[in-house]
Symmetry: none
Subunit: 213 residues, 4 copies
């Protein structure tokens, strides 16, 4: 009979292996897309037999669902913690912009999968997925609503619409970047600078408008 410790150890390894599969799936999906990836590709990327994938996941789709759930949850937490901060609305928006714009640099594969494979398949997605995406909009709208109440923002515009302007601007920058529509040359620091500039521009336009006052 295995000792309790040995059982725990095995359980830990099992969780690791599950994670290995998820990580490998992100890499593979990013490289060849969900439909272009075979389960065996994921398995060999994870360094395991493909049969084992079915030990941890019901099927290929569940892998994608799990990737979304776990990672999007983490992202939402980061967004929430920005929203709950006590800084100015402008600072919150800047932090949010930086968070989103940096996501691609830090977790490029995962963002690719999100942009291409999950947003796309959401048509068939369970309502929970829709709701999970909706939560981002609600949180941002909440930031705006708070800004309106504190007098930092105009009160004559619907925050549920305004949040689209903000999120949309950032989303399309990320998408364009993923799509290589935007090509950023230079090293790490140049890229960093570019993103900062974009973040500032987005927030600037969003708060002050582009019109010559």
């Amino acid at each position: 009979m295995p000792t309790p410790t040995a059982t725990a150890e095995r359980r830990r390894q099992a969780r690791d292996k599950r994670q290995q599969i998820l990580d490998a799936a992100v890499v593979v999906f990013a490289r060849t897309g969900y439909h272009g990836s075979r389960v065996s590709d994921i398995a060999s990327e994870a360094g395991i037999a493909y049969g084992l994938v079915y030990h941890y996941f019901k099927n290929k789709e569940e892998i994608l669902d799990t990737i979304f759930q776990e990672r999007w949850g983490g992202f939402l937490e980061a967004v929430d913690s920005i929203a709950e901060g006590t800084t100015s609305t402008e600072d919150k928006l800047l932090s949010l912009a930086a968070l989103i714009l940096n996501a691609y640099r830090v977790r490029g594969d995962w963002v690719k999968v999100l942009v291409f494979e999950i947003q796309r398949s959401s048509r068939f997605a369970r309502p929970e997925q829709i709701r999970a995406v909706g939560r981002l909009f609600q949180t941002v709208a909440g930031i705006l609503r708070a800004g309106q109440q504190s007098g930092e923002l105009r009160r004559d515009l619907d925050p549920d619409v305004a949040c689209y302007v903000f999120i949309g601007a950032l989303d399309i920058v990320v998408t364009s970047r993923v799509l290589d529509v935007i090509q950023i040359e230079g090293g790490e620091s140049e890229q960093n600078e570019y993103y900062l500039k974009v973040a500032r521009t987005v927030v600037d336009i969003f708060l002050n408008g582009l019109g010559s006052s």
Copy 2:
């Protein structure tokens, strides 16, 4: 031997049949996605034998490419004609917003296909497709640049970045609508009103900002 007229007639019918296939493909792709659609689904939606599809198109992918090319071209022309107008920058932006927001209502299926199947799978897209999408950004950036030169817009912000804010806002409204993240209740006129409100809000924020001046 067929008369010249008969030949012309046949050629016209051929073009019709080709169009039928494209129209059917839009419907089917919108319903079940590119990968979820069989060539035979397209054919039966078009009311023809599936073998015939291969008379008009090399393969399934060429159908998608063609859909993009033909329809995106038309869309770009509409955008260009707005850009080339002599109205104020604000009017141009309002027209643009209305054009994009209405597109989903008028050609829902086609926008779905664009959003999900083409825009989001451009990784595999030929560079021409990237360039074609890029042209939208350039045209909008051009509108902004002109506005800066005429003094209507602030000159301290990069129009190549600013255009993302504008397009991104509209894009995400459309996408959210397609995804049913946004549910619009009510009939035709309520929907119309909602879109007008969104268009005005987007342009308002874009020009005047959300900050309390």
Copy 3:
């Protein structure tokens, strides 16, 4: 455009091909059992690509169902025509016994498939299959009931139970033969003789009993 005749010809060939598949399936199922047979085995026995099997049948199971339906239907017709005859009850029973006992000789593969694969999987079978099997019992019970009314048979026994005795006796002979529990040596004529003897014995016991009167 193909002439009507050509179309008809093609349709005829299609039916042939479908039949080829069914015939091949009977051979293959008889040889290696339903579960032991691959669809590709059936296809290669039929001399076609296995993809074509799915042109004519939804899946492997539908092949088995079709085999049962078509052939059992034919068998029931033969049974019915015996039942509807004007001969004596004894003659009807003799004919029935001969029909059943000969079936294995004439269509050995098909009987094997019936005995092993269809009777077995009937647990999951659609109620129609149960009903189809039930019809055999009803028809035989009908023969017995008629014999009771005409005074040829005792009236004190339930024909719905009595029919089991008759059918069961014949069924187990066939099954035993298929199972090689019974080994019949000798050529065609010896076999024939053996079956005649069995048929007569079964009917004799059934009508006159084994008890020394």
Copy 4:
């Protein structure tokens, strides 16, 4: 070091566990058939880990073989003890009929497995299995032969054929019952009555015939 008693205890438990697996297998095979049952289904029905099954049995097939061997052996013993009795032939046949007809009620799952999975797939069965089934026929034929010698039965019919009539009748009643071709309504006592009636009818026909004397 374990005491002899502890060792014995362990051996007993091992036998229990082995028996647990066999019992579980009967239940599972009856429910979903041999091919439709996974080793893990058997294990979870038995409440053990599926790896353990391979400690007690070489493979899945050996489980089925063992089920047959052990239970069929017990059944044959019961049949033998009837055959060896000193009662009249009629009584022996009645006892035999009751034994067989009751088996389904008492051990329904096991009979299902016998009827569907073993009896009907003997093609693959080792010859010993065929021989074991053959022993039933021989024993029944023996009863008949004894009846002929004692003058209770007609001598002009081959007992090796006659035994088919008897066994076949009972077998098909059981099979029909398993297949739900026969639906018996009512409670315990009604079912009991029905089976008694069938047993008597079968023996009556078998001994006295259905013909109006």
